[in-house]
Symmetry: C2
Amino acid sequence: MSPEQEIPSPEKISKKAAKKEASKLEKLRRKQEREQQSEESIRTTTITSLEEEDESFSRNYGDVTIPEIKSTNDSNSGKWREAIEGKSWIDMKNLTKEMIGLEVLIRGRVNTNRPVSSKLGFMTLRQTGGEVSVQCVGIASEEMKVSVKMIRFMKQLSCESFVDVIGVVALPKDPVIGTTQEVEIQVRKVFCVDRVKEEKLPLNVEDAARSKADIQAGKPGANQDTRLNNRVIDLRTPANQAIFRIQSHVQMAFRELLASKDFIEIHTPKLMAGSSEGGSAVFRLDYKGQSACLAQSPQLHKQMAICGDLRRVFEVGPVFRAEDSFTHRHLCEFVGLDVEMDINKHYSELMDLVDELFVCIFTKLNERCSKELEAVRNQFPFQPLKFLPKTLRLTFAEGIEMLKEAGEEVDPLKDLNTESERKLGQLVLEKYNTEFYILHRYPLAARPFYTMPCADNADYSNSFDVFIRGEEIISGAQRVHIPELLEERAKEIGIDVTAISTYINSFRYGAPPHGGFGVGLERVVMLFCALDNIRKTSLFPRDPQRLAP
Amino acid sequence: MSPEQEIPSPEKISKKAAKKEASKLEKLRRKQEREQQSEESIRTTTITSLEEEDESFSRNYGDVTIPEIKSTNDSNSGKWREAIEGKSWIDMKNLTKEMIGLEVLIRGRVNTNRPVSSKLGFMTLRQTGGEVSVQCVGIASEEMKVSVKMIRFMKQLSCESFVDVIGVVALPKDPVIGTTQEVEIQVRKVFCVDRVKEEKLPLNVEDAARSKADIQAGKPGANQDTRLNNRVIDLRTPANQAIFRIQSHVQMAFRELLASKDFIEIHTPKLMAGSSEGGSAVFRLDYKGQSACLAQSPQLHKQMAICGDLRRVFEVGPVFRAEDSFTHRHLCEFVGLDVEMDINKHYSELMDLVDELFVCIFTKLNERCSKELEAVRNQFPFQPLKFLPKTLRLTFAEGIEMLKEAGEEVDPLKDLNTESERKLGQLVLEKYNTEFYILHRYPLAARPFYTMPCADNADYSNSFDVFIRGEEIISGAQRVHIPELLEERAKEIGIDVTAISTYINSFRYGAPPHGGFGVGLERVVMLFCALDNIRKTSLFPRDPQRLAP
């Protein structure tokens, strides 16, 4: 048998190389045929009945034994080791028509298992949560050394078990419904790598993958707590696989753009003395006899990095909030994408970056994640995000004006509540045809003490929030870098200056004007895909009632 | 005046474009000259003495006022706003001979300030921690509207203050010692953006930047606690600037390689019920009335991600250890680079990845960070890391044998202590000429309960450690994915199985054979640069006695 590693992925083959590839596959096919014929001629035993198999039949299937799975190098340690000797696994996504007639080794989860007769069985295997699946056909056959006992073994493989199949790529008589690959595998050998022994799973992947429409039509679904309690099963749905791939791509695009602009990635401590923003909703703990808390944001330390001349920094890391928020958009632990940079003369420099950064992220997601976005859409239908090539900026006062014109009662010097934010999102969409925009010059009273007040009106501040589909995802501002002004601001809102002296002192040794912003990673993915709950975009969510799994 | 944003960075100019660029700069120069002449003709006032300046002189210098720094758009709000109107800052690194004669606007920290006479002053400004610096010359001159009062103002600018200088690029008569740029700036206008008011800084950047050799030769240095207590100043040294750039590049290279191999980046929760590895050195806290702890590693959750079919995952995030370790290589909070992946048949698949990944990281660091490595070397001399294109792998037993041959007393079934690890590192260097190698098949007793035992000898395990310069930086293994075996192993070493039931149950619904490894980011940078203390590679280190800044 030839090693399959020689078969390159068809995806990587350019048209020019396709011909060469075809002839290579043809050679490999002929070689495998010759080897099979020679195996046949060596065979001396004769089988009288498919029911009574001899050694050469029974070696073609079985459970992988524990000694075998422990990374032994000994190919005599068991049937599985013997069967895979010299072979390489190929990804199911690479199983295409070009490979018809070739013998391959694949590994996947049992997705469905349909017995037909004592001599025939159909099993589908899937990889990466149902993104790719292929049908494996077992037919009892003396010539192929596939016994009825092997078909029986195959039929007993429980769903979600991991299985290795060695078989020949073939074109099915009728197109297979419910698999992604157009070819099927005619099983020669089958081994169970990891068997699910539970009689009934606490959650079926199929149920977890159902759309609202299907559930309304009467098919079984799964509620959120069942899903989250059994996250290792829930994560296997196509939509969840896609969500965490999209999340990975958001970070990648975020870093790519910032790195191209000379930002460096830093890591600030999550354990700190005092509370990170002087807030109350912090998790407290004992640190070697000292009173400590978990950082509510990397705010103070990323500013200190700027004072330390790192000039342009970003961080991707956990943020802890002990708030008792039971909404669809709050978590007690989430991933913060944080940016801090020196500015030359105006906080609009920060908004310029937000604009470029997010237009870049959205564009790259649409380009790179089309399959993933479709997988999400199949379960949770949504319209693509509407955004402008140059992001709309409105002042807070302009936003208030729009709300007032629409008959909303809003206080012009207080923060907007969730309801008003949503309403304003609608008005902006109607007027400017965008679901992504920046609202700036927030009332000073609505922002933390370290926010720089506006030059022309101390009721307002050099700050901004950014919205997707009517919900806030980014908060940013120019910071107060003058220690005297910082003390004054802290005192004004009743913060004990001595408690934050480390922070304030950081600015006494020369600090450039600077600012930054913070983004919630889970919110970006949630709102880009118009999902209804942030728990859908957190791998293992933490809320006031959930600390496990 | 023309906006300087039109001047592209000379670094970006190819040889082909250089000619075009020169003509562009020449045009800009002529335009600036014409504008200056026209300004001259408009001027009506006459100055009798440089001591008695009029309005047109006094507008060329001063402190930036608070209203001006608050991002005002009003160019009439002060002298600085007026001076910078229509101008853009350029980075000092872009100041080259090609720009001689052009007027530029730069911002930097005052590095040195040397008064010569009442009419002459020299000041050097630096950017990004001394990496780049330029000399600014102030000469009192009626023609240039530079008064003696302005020279006096310039002389009083304290070190570490941020200053904006508008001036003309010129070639100094004598080469300037102690600056990086070959050109100097003839000051026309100077504004103090942020002034250091402290009489004496708690740490001088110059002292913090001294090498051991200089200190031994009698120059003042700074001890580690003074540095860390004043990290915002300490970070400004060229070596520290370089260290955190190198660290950023380590992460970038780590992610680039993994992304190219279909790994996705995940974030696991840091807040968890119970303790993450059943260990004792955890930080405990109250989580809404529940008992919680901080994750000692993402171990359990990254394995759960594999059970959830994410197949190949990595994470970059904080790791918390409440151990009372006061060594040069332990922190209570550090950045973990974690990897977990399904494996087909052998834990060597993990070592193959470690090999490729780290050879790639080291190679990229040498390529991309040559300047940074030199900056570190200037203060902390070190020899480049010796590593092989294909990483050496030794079994633990082979390592023990080498130690025994060298006369070391070592227990073959216990973990190596730091001393033996260092000794083995020396022996390996002598024999194989590498300071980077993998030691695998560790004694089972030396590894956590979830480590897969070896197939052929249950005294050993499918695990490995990786060493740089005789110190461990990576720990990895194949995991036990069979729930019954996992329970058995936990019981054997006295872990309460019910306390880790969530973890064990994750493997009951089908799990692929898998494994992974964890790396300490700070250790990679420390050992690549042969630094003597891990606190040098942590931005704001946390050890049993340090929780601030």
